[in-house]
């Protein structure tokens, strides 16, 4: 902190609490902070909530449900931002147990949003004594919330006039709050940046300390604008400090079960990662080559699934650029997956830190595919610079790149021009313009002010102010429920179209990723098969967020003989890992859990989230519609790029005689067919989920799931036909 900032610092309030007491993975209490009243309170976790919603995101959604009304907007004082831990969170004997789950009302979708993020926050929060950190209302000036888990103290300080950008802020705060170098590993800081203040695409950065590099590292809670809520509440940072993590910190009921599961998984990772996905070598970016080879890499706003220049950003390049001579890094203690990677000493060529040599965390697959493929900028230096600045400014690389790709297509179609963009030539591949747009978005200046609103609001402006064709924008604007699509081309996978469209929070792949099972392996050919997969995997993936787990160790590594021992969907569940999860849950909580009960735990929360959407004015069938670009070729250019495939489908599947037909006629026929398929899939999924044909959970289902709380019943009854 500069001297000037120190002088401006003002203690607003402090609160003392009894330091952490974790019993069988839970503390059974939540830390509530009201920022306008400077009130800090200990509140209990309601026993019924614990029984019904398990923990983590389940708690977060339930307590947010109780905090807001159907009229609450994301930037209203009563909206909360809730940081959740789960019962398995913090277990050091198993990989991927450090996830924080963040719940709030989203500025993009207007409804409940959830994110998961690595780093040390959730375990430190729990071991400090809190299952949840629940923050409501807004401060007058920027504040830092400091939670000292060992001393049992929470302090809120007013700190006006500090640059909120993450990169420099977390370094300064680490120096300020750590007693010495060794103590830095006991800190986890949440921050965001000016981009979160000026756009709807704000993220949260959560830190962990890299003792090898002696650098603060970050992970992101990226989707739906959670960081924009954080900055709207004028939270500059949350600093959590806790020392003393060990294998017994969760006071697990049966530690031997944790050990058994952990040893089994660690052996697999050590033996197989280098011949399976190479998560230790480059992390998620390994996917890029496969998406390119199987026509799933988004190129030019999802028009195409591959590009001849993709080799410039392929996995091999990142092998060379990532500066690690050994396996990657663990963003939580004890994780053998070690998928965190970084590029050190990257010299920035633009922006406020131009000329600085910085550490870039990543890049992950989504960032590389989004900026590299989707925006047509196949340049690793550009990907790194965009990655760095989005993180630093607190902006979502997926939201920004998908929005930018949409704007580039608008520019190339003369829907927007240099007059509207204030001089930016937003052609696909224009790196200079792309970087300038990122800076403008973060500053809330120039055309960046419009771009930062996200695709849904941009479409409205382009139609109302500039007379754009609303139907065409609906077709090519890759958003659903207000959230931008993550980076996969789904045209040839009906199941993944549904996985995106029927996801509760919007088209993010963390609820479903079924592309290969469907498009390539053809393991789920019928509507019923696809519906079963969409139901099962969305619930299975939801479970990670209830208990505090990362998804990656589930299926980014699998037993050597998994595909030989098991078949079809069963193999995709990775049964031995599912068994690990049952052991973990029982090992920590002492409660036996069958695979069916695991799904039931998720189903309660998943249905609550769907009903929450309903409460906020969404949550019905019309909101599950996806843009046609996600379903099939919108333009002649797209159709012609895969004419052989589409012609064949028209003839063999649709029984349409293509002779003498124009491309436009073929596009229309294919579209009618594919849109009908999507609707049939919705029918099948709703039925499988126990929802009405309007996509609303039935009363019978709600009662069966034991989530028949009075206000839930009252709300849902309005939608029963």
């Amino acid at each position: 902190m500069s001297k000037e900032n120190k002088d401006n610092q003002k203690l607003l309030t402090s609160f003392e609490f009894e330091p952490g007491k974790v019993e069988k993975g839970y503390t059974d209490r939540r830390l509530y902070i009201n920022l306008s009243e400077n009130k800090i309170e200990e509140k209990p976790i309601d026993l019924e909530a614990k029984e019904t919603f398990t923990g983590g995101r389940g708690y977060g959604i339930w307590y947010l449900w109780n905090a807001v009304s159907s009229n609450t907007k994301w930037n209203d004082p009563e909206n909360e931002i809730i940081f959740c831990t789960g019962p398995i969170c913090g277990v050091t004997q198993y990989s991927g147990t450090g996830k924080t789950h963040v719940v709030t009302l989203s500025p993009e979708t207007g409804t409940v949003n959830d994110n998961n993020v690595g780093g040390y926050l959730a375990p430190f929060l729990k071991f400090s004594g809190w299952d949840l950190l629940e923050i409501q209302d807004k401060a007058k000036e920027d504040v830092i919330i400091f939670i000292d888990g060992n001393k049992g103290k929470v302090v809120i300080e007013e700190v006006p006039g500090i640059n909120s950008d993450t990169y420099l802020l977390i370094e300064k705060l680490t120096e300020k709050y750590a007693d010495d170098e060794k103590d830095k590993r006991n800190l986890s800081i949440v921050s965001s940046g000016r981009g979160a203040e000026n756009t709807n695409l704000g993220i949260l950065n959560v830190t962990w300390y890299d003792v090898r590099r002696k650098k603060v590292r970050i992970k992101q809670a990226g989707r739906g604008g959670t960081g924009s809520v954080f900055r709207d509440k004028k939270i500059l940072a949350i600093v959590t400090k806790y020392s003393g993590v060990n294998a017994g910190s969760n006071n697990a009921a049966y530690p031997e079960l944790l050990k058994k599961a952990g040893q089994r998984l660690t052996k697999e990772i050590s033996k197989l990662d280098h011949i399976q996905n190479g998560m230790r070598e480059t992390g998620t970016v390994n996917l890029l080559d496969h998406m390119q080879n199987y026509n799933c890499l988004p190129v030019h706003n999802f028009k195409f699934g591959s590009h001849p220049d993709a080799f410039k950003i392929e996995n091999k390049i990142w092998h060379q650029r990532m500066t690690q001579n050994q396996a990657g890094d663990s963003c939580w203690m004890g994780c053998a997956m070690r998928c965190a990677h970084a590029v050190d000493g990257f010299e920035l060529s633009t922006g406020p830190l131009k000329g600085e040599k910085v550490l870039v965390d990543g890049p992950e697959y989504e960032t590389t595919a989004g900026f590299g493929g989707n925006c047509g900028c196949f340049d690793p230096d550009f990907v790194l610079e965009a990655n760095f600045y989005c993180d630093n400014y607190g902006m979502d690389t997926i939201g920004v790149s998908t929005t930018m790709a949409f704007l580039m297509e608008c520019y190339e179609n003369n829907i927007i021009n240099k007059e509207i963009t204030e001089g930016l030539e937003l052609n696909f591949g224009n790196i200079k313009a792309a970087l300038e747009l990122i800076h403008q978005m973060a500053e809330g200046k120039g055309f960046g002010k419009i771009a930062g609103l996200g695709i849904r609001q941009i479409k409205k402006i382009l139609v109302e102010k500039y007379g754009a064709d609303a139907e065409f924008l609906q077709d090519i604007g890759m958003e659903c429920k207000g959230m931008e699509f993550s980076e996969y081309v789904t045209k040839e996978s009906l199941a993944q179209q549904g996985g995106y469209g029927m996801a509760n929070k919007g088209p993010q792949h963390d609820e479903n990723w079924l592309i290969f099972m469907d498009q390539v392996n053809n393991q789920i050919p019928t509507f019923e098969d696809k519906a079963a997969a969409i139901r099962y995997f969305s619930l299975f993936r939801t479970w990670f967020s209830l208990v505090g787990l990362c998804k990656l160790p589930w299926n980014d590594i699998e037993p050597e003989d998994n595909k030989q021992k098991y078949h079809g969907m069963e193999a995709a569940k990775v049964p031995e890992h599912l068994e690990n999860y049952c052991w973990l849950f029982e090992g920590v909580t002492g409660k036996q859990l069958t695979p069916e009960e695991l799904i039931l735990q998720s189903e309660r929360v998943h249905n609550l989230q769907r009903i929450f959407n309903l409460k906020m004015g969404f949550g019905t069938r019309e909101h599950d519609i996806i843009p046609y670009r996600a379903v099939g070729p919108v333009t002649a250019e797209e159709y012609e790029s895969r004419r052989e495939l589409y012609d064949q489908q028209l003839q063999e599947i649709v029984n349409f005689d293509i002779k003498d037909k124009t491309t436009e006629e073929k596009i229309k026929t294919l579209r009618d067919y594919r849109e009908e398929q999507y609707q049939k899939l919705c029918d099948a999924v709703y039925e499988r989920r126990g929802w009405s044909s309007n996509g609303v959970p039935t009363l019978e289902n709600i009662i069966k799931l034991k989530i028949d709380f009075p206000e839930i019943l009252e709300l849902v009854k309005k939608y029963q036909s």
Binding site: L287, N522, P525
Partner: protein, 65 residues
Amino acid sequence: MIKVNGRDREWEKNLTVDLLLKKCKYSFPLIMVKVNGKYIPKEKYQNTLIMDGDDVQVIHSIAGG
């Protein structure tokens, strides 16, 4: 005619597993191949002939996003 992952595909003489994977552009390193339900180890891809009417499964072990 053969089936590859349940979809029809033209058969040709001297079609090996290795050749089929190339023709299908199945470049993913982690795949499991079965011909008529029988598992074919990787080292036998070059020598295993696919006959007309065979049912081939090529399962990709990709986790994705």
